[in-house]
Amino acid sequence: MIEKEVTILNRAGLHTRPAAILVQLASKYKSDFFIIHDDLVVNGKSIISVMTLLAPQGSKLKLKFEGIDEEEAAKEIVEYFNRGFDEL
């Protein structure tokens, strides 16, 4: 299992568009992907769940990856967070 911590960098936060892309990225991998934010733990492959996070700029999220391709999944998804969802 891999655990990472990421910060939301873009101004608009984790809104619908990045949520949809996040889910699409995660769905390419076999590994489970969870996002933990405040009191919520959600499945990162479900669009409704990811949107429910309502994470604004500056929030810190914990990401959990578990499965045979967890390394690759973690790498790509963490990178996407670090790029500020390509909205910087």
Binding site: R17, A19, M51, P56
Partner: protein, 338 residues
Amino acid sequence: MKFLENLIEIRKDSIDVGFFYESCHRLFGLNLIAENDGFSKKIKDYSIHRPGLALAGFLELFSFNRVQIFGNTEIRFLHSLEREKRIQSLKKFFEYDIPCIVFSNGHVPDEDFLNITRDKKISVFNSNLPTTKVVYFLSDFLDDQFAPQVTIHGSFVDVYGIGLLFVGRSGIGKSEIALDLVERGHRLVADDLILATRKGENVLMGTGTKLMKHFMEIRGLGLINVEKIFGVRAIRYQKRIEVLVVLEEWDSQKEYTRTGLENHTTNILGVNIPTIILPIFPGKNITVIAEIIALNYLLKHYGYDAAQDLKKRVEKGIQDRMNQKYERAVDYFEHDFE
């Protein structure tokens, strides 16, 4: 994106005057005044023409190859001339190769007019309707006759009043979905071979061929007649094509929309048809999804878009959090009292 490849556009380039008369007689009671051996003449233009100026002698830009409508103005003008002049004017007019003549307002041509048209083998009709109505009906009819057409391989069903056109490779189950929808009370327009034609600028109409209407082939069963099995409630003859549903085998490498925020369209005969790409796999209930596609389209039509609504809520939620208005995802669980 391209889902419908090799659509071959067909367009009539002419119709016979005889066919024109039979159809218009049936559709809105066009009367025959004199056939004059003119039924084999061709109408090659979908527009119609009011020849007022041409009768008055202005023959530049005279659209002689169109159906000519004689309304009150033309009749009044001709009657205002002395007989000699009138005949002269008409002779000049009929030097052109005119397809046919229609009188509106129940006007009937005089003997001179009929003599000239007989010489020139031009059929003459009349209608009791006022000119604007005649123009409207004839334009609509000719527009339809000369409209571009394509044939599409698919299944076409009216679901809750929305025309859903299913396409996809053969054997993917289009007919089965159509049949399932019919079973649930929806109406089949056509299966397998669908003729689509553009009506006006923005409407695409679909129908089946005369021969195959409401027949269907089910693999392993053969041909069935949906109208005979389910009765008249299960069919309709034509319907506007409103949504294109592209059925595909689920491809794990391909990304499918998760939010529905993007709106895809497919261009058919210049009309942009909203398009949904639906991945299918065993156990997925496409029939129910098809009903939801129709209902969601209706909702959007009436101004509600679920994806946009949720998007706005998310944006507002993120804003509120920025302003430290922290709320739990569910604010309060009551006891289980309802």
